[in-house]
């Protein structure tokens, strides 16, 4: 045994509020895995001189994923349930040089926030949205989510889910903003690569990250062990190129299609607005 001179630190600690670690997420929770890869992407772009982390405004909603804003050392906002996307709209309108990143959960973004998700994508609004999908409402104890698979138990559907889930990525894909991707915490290096690419693009960028909630969703489907649920997710995730929305599947029992589905460089909302309305100074400082 040896005594350390400095407190132990992880390579990403410079981007975190380490006085708040260990974080509140459960053992095996995929949110920490997704957040780690987001921070690697920021660190690498920062070191490559391509991104100024002081310009990031990291906005989250309510839920387990929403707690992420408490652990990162950026300009942050822990907004209201479903409202991180409009919050980010306001930030960008006020200061176009800022880089809004929305990091929130499936219930927050696709249920109560669904209207905002749809319109921000339609506008090709300048923001990166990362939706961590664990198919449940974890923080409040395991109620039904719009992404919960059919017939699965939830605390508000104790006889099984009578609904079919929404494939939020397919919906966003059909609206056709600049960047649409679905990743999984089981393939972490791909999350990092995708985030690195998306952070440097303009317009609306969407990355769904499939995640594990062993404590609640896993318990509901009899797979409470983190590695068992992780392996189960890994089996159903299939990386493919897609030619149309029909190729994108979201079926917990057969295939959840992952990959980069859309990547283009159409003018963003802010580009359009600022140039059409003669706001030249703001256009000059507009950053992706």
């Amino acid at each position: 045994m040896v005594m350390l001179e400095e407190k132990p630190s992880h390579p990403l600690d410079a981007y975190m509020r380490t006085d708040r670690l260990p974080h509140i997420w459960c053992p095996g929770c995929g949110i920490g895995i997704a957040l780690q890869q987001f921070l690697w992407a920021v660190k690498e772009l920062h070191e490559e001189g391509k991104l100024d982390p002081n310009k990031i405004v990291f906005a989250t909603g309510i839920g387990c994923t929403g707690r992420a804003s408490g652990f990162v050392k950026f300009d942050t906002a822990h907004t209201r349930h479903g409202r991180a996307i409009p919050f980010a709209v306001g930030v960008k309108l006020a200061n176009p040089s800022l880089i809004p990143v929305v990091f929130s959960g499936d219930g927050d973004i696709a249920s109560i926030g669904g209207n905002h998700m749809m319109h921000a994508a339609r506008r090709n609004f300048d923001m990166l949205v990362i939706m961590v999908n664990n198919m449940t409402y974890g923080l409040t104890g395991g109620q039904l989510a719009p992404t919960t698979p059919h017939s699965v138990y939830s605390t508000t559907t104790p006889m099984g889910n009578p609904e079919s889930p929404i494939d939020a990525t397919k919906v966003v894909y059909s609206i056709s903003p600049n960047f649409v991707a679905r990743m999984s915490i089981t393939h972490p290096n791909l999350i990092r690569d995708t985030v690195k690419k998306a952070l440097l693009m303009k317009g609306f960028r969407w990355i769904e990250v499939l995640s594990t909630c062993p404590e609640i969703f896993g318990r509901h489907i009899n797979m409470r062990d983190p590695y068992e649920l992780y392996s189960r997710l890994k089996k159903v995730v299939k990386f493919k190129k897609v030619a149309s929305a029909n190729d994108i599947k979201y079926d917990w029992n057969s295939e959840i299609t992952c990959g980069v589905f859309t990547e283009k460089n159409d003018p963003s909302y802010m580009e359009n607005y600022l140039s059409m309305y003669g706001l030249k100074e703001k256009l000059e400082v507009l950053s992706p």
């Binding site: 405004v57 822990h78 209201r80 709209v89 306001g90 309108l93 209207n115 905002h116 319109h119």
Partner: protein, 386 residues
Amino acid sequence: MKAEFLNSNQAVAEGAMAAGLGVYVGYPITPSSDMFEYLSEELPKRGGSVFQAEDEIASINALVGASLAGAKSMTATSGPGFSLMMEGIGFAAMVEAPLMIVDVMRAGPSTGIATQIGQGDIYQAKWGSHGVYNLVAYAPASAQEAYDYAIKSFNAAYSVRTPVVLMTDAVLAHTRERVVLRDPGELEIVGRNAQKVAPDQYRPYRPDPEDLVPPMAFYGEGYHPIAESLSHDERGYYKTDDEIYRALVSRLVRKVEVNKSKLVASKSYYAEDADVLFVAIGSMARNLLALVRELRGRGIKAGMFRPISLWPFDDESFVAAAARASKIVTVELNQGQLYQILKGILWDNRNKVSNPTIYNLDMPLPTLPTPDEILGEIESRGWKLW
């Protein structure tokens, strides 16, 4: 300065722009839509941005983001949209985001009558969101006042870091009047109290010990501010402890109260020797003033007190105006909301007034009664006021 012929929708827009408006995010709703349309053309010419959101909920939440990112931000709405914004107003109060919401009141509840006047949102302005918080609300009664108080609303917002509600009505909105627009040098504009410490010393919710308002760092300045909707300590970290919660919400309430003298506003008419003191706001006060003058002409000692700040209410001025009155009559287009406010103030100040009787002339109409109709309503209730 120059004089223009404007309705109060335009006057509010001009006042806001004079105060340095940077971002307008709104949603169409009668009778405020033409303010939105006016700004969508004018504001970009002055370097600001106007955005039509998908609904009022998106609007209010976008304003909080815009405010924290450094822009003076506002929206304009009416009753139904104002109701949708309630959660967002609480969010703004909790994260101490200065912003302005214009409620052009119309007849409610629910869809009501979109194109006609209401005055039923008085309590909602302050108490509409859940939990313990405070804010400032003004009710101008002319296009000139709408211009002046749009500027004062932003000043108030940045002085105490709360959302501020500017309450006009459907009649003021579209009534054109002479408005004197002032030059930049003639205006008192209040901005944020900027953060003076180094980033590593920065505590986003540490208040100034005197005015209880935390100095404000915007996004992008290197301070890494946290906007936290959960109960939080001075660092913005989520805390459930009794003392921390209590200190936070008590300060949210008290920061408006300790700055009250800078925020309150009202006007009194013929109050020095008034035996019957009428009270009304907005367009109603204008018709009521005509009645008061008519009564004076008949030798009746009538007076009027017109609150301009609804929250905080100018209770000191009201008590002074009511000191000699034996009758107080609130006249409003609702079920009696000013009435409820004044009952409390009179009780608290019962040793400073002359034991008056307070009458609730509630007239829940969607149109402004004429001075004769107000008189007729008083007579129909059999009140012997003089």
